[in-house]
């Protein structure tokens, strides 16, 4: 089992002829993802370098390919528009990789998608992977381990990219497999958040435990801690990045900023610990903490 995406997910790539779109479509195809076409306005009727059909609009792409998921690589100025077009065309899940999307664009985009029942992952995120089945994003596939008979499996939710790879690698090298890993992105206004994904992993029979990777800025981790205490029975291991970050400075991610005394790592760690969650103190100990929780040698 897995959440959100699997080997049956049919994906179209917005921006399939751009540098990033073309490169990562190739990587996703190689991993086994069913990418069924691309959307590039003005290039409808042509083929991408991967031999996939290119459409002028998401409407054409959905009609011709039966796609149900969009992977968006278009530049920041047009990213929200692509996501909204996908939703209007009936796409159920949009994975928005693009970094640098204006916050107010995301405010409007998220509302538009909500009204149409379309789920969003991102923006400014590595995407989502169900190991062994589908990789929809920019994460390196080989670091992941698909569940097999007898493996202990985790689900992972993270605001970070490379730190997620680090955590996944620490699990894989200890024999811990992953059902699905979701990078929710580093922006202040985004799609699916900790709570919705925690609920999905809690219901997923194959997921034994959950890793939550947060960072400074906002209060999503505090909200997640309260949710876990009330609703999640599976063990959760957490790590919060930015314990040494100074206030008032954006630490790379648009959403990673301590402002007005809100969003400190200390407040998040305290909330998580209070909810009985295992918090790794070092980023090098996320995998070993999970191994202990799952009693994996």
């Amino acid at each position: 089992m897995s959440i959100l995406v699997d080997r049956t997910t049919r994906v179209i790539c917005h921006g399939i002829t751009g540098n990033a779109g073309a490169f990562h479509t190739a990587q996703c195809l190689e991993y086994g993802t069913q990418i069924v076409g691309g959307v590039v306005p003005g290039k409808g009727g042509t083929k991408s370098e991967h031999g996939l059909p290119v459409f002028n609009s998401a409407f054409d792409a959905v009609r011709e390919t039966g796609a149900n998921c969009s992977m968006v690589f278009v530049p920041a100025a047009f990213a929200a528009d692509s996501a909204m077009e996908a939703a209007a065309a009936g796409i159920r899940l949009v994975v928005l990789i693009t970094e640098g999307v204006p916050t107010l664009d995301m405010v409007r985009c998220r509302k538009y998608l909500d009204e149409r029942g379309t789920q969003l992952i991102g923006p400014n995120c590595p995407g989502i992977i169900t190991p062994g089945q589908a990789k929809i994003g920019i994460m390196p596939g080989y670091i992941h381990k698909p569940p097999a008979a007898g493996t202990k499996n985790i689900g992972l939710i993270s605001r970070s990219g490379t730190l997620t790879y680090e955590a996944v690698w620490q699990c894989t090298t200890r024999g811990i497999a992953q059902t699905t890993c979701v990078g929710i992105g580093g922006d202040p206004v985004k799609g699916l958040n900790f709570i919705e994904l925690l609920a999905m992993f809690e219901k997923d029979a194959e997921t034994h435990a959950i890793i939550l990777i947060g960072e400074i800025g906002g209060t999503d981790e505090e909200a997640a801690a309260a949710y876990i205490r009330a609703n999640v029975r599976k063990p959760v291991v957490a790590f919060i990045a930015g314990q040494t970050a100074p206030p008032g400075k954006r630490m790379g991610h648009a959403g990673a900023i301590i402002s007005g005394g809100e969003g400190t790592a200390a407040s998040k760690i305290a909330a998580l610990k209070e909810a009985g969650i295992h918090v790794a103190t070092s980023p090098a100990e996320i995998g070993s903490t999970m191994a202990k929780v799952l009693s994996v040698a």
């Binding site: 100025a77 107010l104 920019i138 390196p140 490379t162 209060t219 991610h253 648009a254 070092s282 980023p283």
Partner: protein, 386 residues
């Protein structure tokens, strides 16, 4: 992106918000002339810097005559301002704002930010103006009244009425305050602000509503569609290394410690700082080279890190995904040759093309290079080396 108070006042004025008349000057003699032009019994001279704590530092001063204005202006423009927010070396003041002193009867706060949890802009007002809103939020949260905006509809008239009545205003003053709130919300949405606040908005003894001080900052991601806003950028307010990094597409923040960091990814870069601290060291910087880093970009990153005289050691932590380890290895070899390493450089590489990268570094045999097996090993080695 932050702008100066005088620039925020200009934006408010253009949107129809009542702002007291003011002059912006950059010399003591201009200050004297401005005082004469304003022709007021008392003026306030305010240093135009982004850092807070101006009042306590003596950089907001009331003056009653021309020589007092000139003397204070001369001092502010000569001596860097040192406050809690500036660090010990302070910041150089280049511009001053001069405005009539206002006889204040009541002070209010009005401000707008993005509410991350509700995913929309929120307008906040309070009768406790003139103090930091964070302070009010901590001590007396019920004193802050909020209205959330539908991004498509903006601030609605009934919301304005609720906010104005929360401030206890009526009649003409209520009308003026309401127009100010509507204008502030319009600026916020039209110019892609991340913060727009008037603090204080005052009612004068004669009943007039005036915006006395304003702070506006903008969403960096939206600057591409606001050339007028981008033109207000003041590079003198930024750390020179941070500007240099920005030009090279690197995300760099200068810190106080002595261990330079070069990492790919913001989350991993923050965690690298954290693990250094955990093993007793202190990071000299945050540096995310990004996913699509080139050799030239990574060499520039080394130049920036090593230009910081405090740096006694460097930790390179790369988890290659999109960024490839061999690109970083090549940058290390180039930087060793062109920049030269005078301090130990601990290198931890994992992920895409790691075997190729390790071989390249082995062949290059750079004496200052210390290989690390994992994150903990790397942190321990760099902390031991400084």
């Amino acid at each position: 992106m932050k702008v100066h108070e005088y620039q925020a006042r200009q934006l408010l004025q253009a949107a129809g918000v009542p702002v007291p008349k003011f002059r912006v000057v950059s010399s003591a003699s201009e200050a004297r002339t401005a005082f004469a032009e304003l022709n007021e019994p008392e003026v306030v001279v305010k240093a135009q810097v982004h850092a807070g704590g101006r009042g306590k530092a003596g950089y907001v001063v009331l003056c009653r005559d021309a020589s007092d204005v000139e003397r204070n202006a001369e001092r502010m423009l000569r001596e860097p301002m040192v406050s809690k927010q500036t660090g010990p070396s302070g910041v150089k003041v280049k511009k001053l704002l001069i405005a009539p002193a206002v006889q204040i009867a009541r002070e209010f706060y009005i401000g707008m930010v993005i509410d991350r949890a509700r995913r929309c802009p929120v307008m906040m007002v309070s009768r406790e103006g003139g103090v930091e809103i964070e302070e009010v939020a901590a001590k007396n949260p019920s004193a802050i009244v909020k209205e959330w905006l539908d991004p498509h509809l903006g601030l609605l008239p009934f919301q304005v009425r609720r906010l104005v009545s929360a401030l206890g205003l009526a009649d003409a003053a209520a009308h003026a305050a309401g127009r100010t709130m509507t204008a502030l919300a319009k600026i916020f949405v039209e110019k892609d602000c991340s913060l727009a606040e008037i603090n204080p908005l005052v009612q004068t003894r004669s009943g007039e509503i005036l915006a006395i001080d304003a702070k506006i900052s903008f969403d960096d991601n939206a600057l591409f569609r606001h050339p007028d806003v981008e033109a207000m950028f003041d590079p003198a307010e930024e750390n020179p290394n941070e500007l240099r990094a920005k030009a090279a597409n690197l995300s760099y923040i200068a810190l106080d410690g002595n261990i330079g960091c070069l990492v790919n990814g913001a989350g991993l870069a923050m965690s690298t700082m954290d693990i250094i601290k955990l093993h007793g060291g202190t990071p000299a910087n945050f540096l995310d080279v990004g996913g699509s880093v080139t050799t030239a970009g990574a060499v520039e990153a080394f130049r920036i890190i090593l230009s910081d005289g405090k740096v006694r050691g460097v930790l390179v932590n790369i988890f290659g995904g999109i960024a490839k380890c061999d690109v970083i290895a090549e940058a290390l070899i180039t930087a060793a040759r062109e920049v030269g390493f005078k301090v130990p450089v601990v290198v931890r590489l994992e992920g895409t093309n790691v075997d190729k990268a390790r071989q390249m570094l082995k062949d290059a045999a750079i004496p200052q290079l210390v290989a690390a097996t994992d994150l903990t090993d790397a942190a321990k080695k760099v902390c031991a080396a400084v």
